[in-house]
C-alpha cells in the first residue's frame, strides 16, 4: 500500500462512517412523524348495528375516516344481482383491501358482509378519497343524469363521478379503480361490531 492509497482508504472509511452516523440519526426523526402509540390505540371503534333501521345508512368514524353501515332491505339485496357486466370487479378479487377472510362463498363476495343485510364498508372513494353520496333507488327517476339509465341503486361520488352499487362494488368507466374497501371488523355479540 502506498501512502496515497492508505489515505484514500482512511478518507472513504471515515466519510462512510460519518454518513452512516447521519443516516442513523435520521431514523428517530422519521419514526417520530409516523403514527404515535395513542393514535394507533384509537384505531378501534365499537358500534351497535341494531341502531341502524332497515333501509337506513349511518356513517361512523373509524381511524378518523368515515365508514358506511347500511342496513339493506330485501329489495336492496335483490338489486345486487344481474348487473355484473357493469362492474369492474364483481367478485371483489382485485386487491386484499376489497376482500376479507370471512368471504368464503360467492354469495358473500356479492353481499360483501358478514350478515347479508348489514353492510360495513369504507366510505372513502378509492379514487381520491371523497365520501360518495348514497342514491339507493334504481333508475334515473330520483337522481337525473348523475347516474346511468340502468342504475341499480348505489353510491355516486360527486367529486369525480365514480359509481358503486349497494355492495360498494365499483362500476366500469369511472375514475375509481377499486371497490370500496372493507374495514376489518367482527361481531362481538349479535348486534355489536368491533372495527379495527
Amino acid at each position: 500500500m502506498t501512502d496515497q492509497t492508505r489515505r484514500a482508504l482512511l478518507y472513504t472509511v471515515a466519510s462512510g462512517m460519518g454518513a452512516a452516523g447521519v443516516a442513523a440519526t435520521a431514523v428517530p426523526f422519521v419514526r417520530s412523524i409516523q403514527p404515535a402509540a395513542d393514535t394507533l390505540a384509537a384505531a378501534v371503534t365499537e358500534f351497535d348495528v341494531s341502531s341502524v333501521g332497515e333501509g337506513m345508512l349511518k356513517t361512523i368514524a373509524w381511524r378518523g375516516q368515515p365508514v358506511f353501515v347500511l342496513h339493506r332491505t330485501a329489495a336492496m339485496l335483490e338489486s345486487l344481482h344481474g348487473h355484473d357486466e357493469l362492474l369492474r370487479d364483481p367478485m371483489s378479487r382485485a386487491i386484499p383491501e376489497v376482500q376479507a377472510d370471512w368471504m368464503k362463498t360467492d354469495e358473500q363476495r356479492i353481499t360483501r358482509s358478514i350478515k347479508p343485510e348489514i353492510l360495513v364498508v369504507s366510505a372513502v372513494c378509492t379514487h381520491l378519497g371523497c365520501v360518495p353520496g348514497i342514491m339507493p333507488t334504481p333508475g334515473q327517476k330520483d337522481w337525473g343524469e348523475a347516474v346511468p339509465a340502468n342504475w341499480p341503486g348505489g353510491w355516486h361520488c360527486a367529486c369525480h363521478g365514480s359509481n358503486y352499487d349497494l355492495s360498494g362494488r365499483v362500476f366500469k368507466n369511472v375514475p375509481a379503480p377499486y371497490n370500496l374497501f372493507l374495514p376489518p371488523y367482527k361481531y362481538t355479540n349479535d348486534t355489536t361490531i368491533l372495527i379495527g
Partner: protein
C-alpha cells in the same frame, strides 16, 4: 471527491448564477487559518453543530407540542400532557426531547468555553471588537430563547421561573406594571403567556441563526486570532480544509460522545439539565421550596440576588451584560494573549472562578453564608472589568514571538 464536485460543470453552472461555489471555497475550504490553533478553537464549529441539532429537534417537537394551559384534570394541562405524550406515545419522542433539553445545556457549555477561549487569547481586541459584540449578542439571544423554551412544558419550574423573570420588568419605574402585563398578556403568567412564549421560542432561534451566520462571515473578514495573539506571516497560514475541517470534525466527534452519554444515560443531569420540580405540573397556587434557574443562568441570577434592592439588583444584572459588551474598549493593553500577560492571566483565572462561584451560589437556596460568598463573587466579577482599563499601565508583559 469534494474537489471533483466543486469542479464539475453543474457546480460551475450554479456558481455562474449564484456564486455558491465561491462562497463554499471562501468560507469552508480556502479560508486562511494560522497553523497553531489548538482544540479550544473547535468550540465554534461544535456550537454550530449544536445549533443545527437544536433547530432540528425543536422543529420535530413543535409538531407534537400543544401550547395551551387548558386543564385536563388533576392539575394537568394540555401543554404538560402533550410533553408527556411526546415522552410516551410519539415514536422516539423521548429521544428527540432529551436531545433538545440536553442540547440546550450543551449549547451553553460550548458557548461559555468558546467565550473563555476568546477572553484568554484576547480575541475580542482590535480588529475583532465587533466579532466579540456579536458573540455577546448571540449569548443574550440564547438566554432569551432558553427562557421562552423553559415555560413550554408548563411544569412547576416553567411557571415559577417565568413568573420571577417577568417580574423583573415590573421593577422598572413608572412603566413597570404596564410592561409586565404586556409581557404576560394578563395579570399573571397564564395561557396568553404560553402562547406568545411558544411563538417567541420560534422567533429567537431565527434571529440566532442570522446573527450566527453574520458572526461567521465577520470572522472570515478579520480572520481567526491564535493562541499567541500575534499577527501571522504568510508562511504560517494554512487553508481551513482539510486541516481544520478534520480537526473540528474530531472535536465534534468527542463532543457528540459526551452529549450522547447525557442524552442516553443521564438526560436530566441530576436535576441540572431538567430540574426535578419541572416534572410536576404548574400550580399557580403553590411555589416550590427551591426555585433556582438552570445552571447556565445561575451566575447572572446570583448577581441579581446579591443586591438587597429590587431595582438595583436588576440594574446590576443588566450592568453585568453591559460590561461584556464594553470589554473590547475596557482592555487597553496592546498585547492580546494571556500567555504573555501575567497580571491579566491571574485576573482572568480569578474572574472565571468568580463566575463559577456565582453559578454555585445561584443554584443553591439562600443562606447567610452563601449570600456573603455570592456578594464577594459579584464584586470580583465587576472588579475584573473596572481594573481592565488600568492593568496595561503596570503589567510587565512577556516578550512576544516574532511569528508563530
Amino acid at each position: 471527491m469534494i474537489k471533483k464536485i466543486l469542479d464539475s460543470s453543474a457546480a460551475q453552472w450554479l456558481d455562474d448564477r449564484t456564486h455558491a461555489v465561491q462562497y463554499i471555497r471562501f468560507h469552508l475550504i480556502d479560508y486562511p487559518t494560522p497553523k497553531n490553533l489548538n482544540y479550544m478553537y473547535a468550540f465554534g464549529s461544535i456550537a454550530l453543530v449544536v445549533l443545527i441539532l437544536q433547530v432540528l429537534t425543536g422543529l420535530f417537537l413543535a409538531m407534537d407540542y400543544k401550547a395551551a394551559t387548558l386543564p385536563t384534570g388533576n392539575g394537568f394541562s394540555l401543554a404538560f400532557d402533550s410533553v408527556e405524550r411526546i415522552m410516551r406515545d410519539v415514536n422516539s419522542g423521548w429521544l428527540i426531547r432529551y436531545m433538545h433539553a440536553v442540547g440546550a445545556s450543551a449549547f451553553f457549555f460550548v458557548i461559555y468555553l468558546h467565550m473563555a477561549r476568546g477572553l484568554y487569547y484576547g480575541s475580542y481586541k482590535k480588529p475583532r471588537e465587533f466579532l466579540w459584540i456579536m458573540g455577546v449578542m448571540i449569548l443574550v439571544i440564547m438566554q432569551a430563547t432558553v427562557f421562552f423554551g423553559y415555560l413550554l412544558p408548563w411544569g412547576q419550574m416553567s411557571f415559577w421561573g417565568a413568573t420571577v423573570i417577568t417580574n423583573i420588568f415590573g421593577a422598572i419605574p413608572v412603566i413597570g406594571d404596564w410592561l409586565l402585563q404586556l409581557v404576560r398578556g394578563g395579570f399573571s403568567v397564564g395561557d396568553p403567556t404560553l402562547g406568545r412564549f411558544f411563538a417567541l421560542h420560534f422567533l429567537t432561534p431565527l434571529l440566532l441563526v442570522v446573527v450566527v451566520l453574520w458572526h461567521v462571515m465577520a470572522l472570515h473578514v478579520v480572520h481567526s486570532n491564535n493562541p499567541t495573539g500575534v499577527e501571522t506571516s504568510e508562511k504560517n497560514i494554512i487553508p481551513f480544509h482539510p486541516y481544520y475541517t478534520v480537526k473540528d470534525l474530531f472535536g465534534i466527534g468527542v463532543f457528540l460522545i459526551v452529549y450522547s452519554y447525557f442524552v442516553f444515560f443521564n438526560p436530566t443531569g441530576n436535576g441540572l439539565i431538567i430540574e426535578v420540580n419541572n416534572f410536576n405540573p404548574a400550580n399557580p397556587m403553590h411555589t416550590p421550596g427551591d426555585i433556582s434557574p438552570v445552571w447556565y443562568l445561575t451566575p447572572w441570577y446570583e448577581i441579581l440576588r446579591s443586591v438587597p434592592d429590587k431595582l438595583l439588583g436588576i440594574i446590576g444584572m443588566g450592568f453585568a451584560y453591559v460590561c461584556l459588551f464594553l470589554l473590547p474598549w475596557l482592555d487597553r493593553s496592546p498585547v492580546r494573549s494571556a500567555r504573555y500577560r501575567p497580571v491579566y492571566r491571574m485576573m482572568l483565572i480569578v474572574f472565571f472562578a468568580a463566575i463559577a462561584t456565582l453559578g454555585y451560589c445561584g443554584h443553591h437556596p439562600v443562606t447567610p453564608e452563601l449570600t456573603l460568598v455570592g456578594r464577594i463573587a459579584s464584586v470580583v466579577y465587576f472588579a475584573f472589568f473596572f481594573m481592565l482599563p488600568f492593568v496595561h499601565k503596570f503589567e510587565k508583559t512577556k516578550p512576544l514571538p516574532e511569528d508563530l
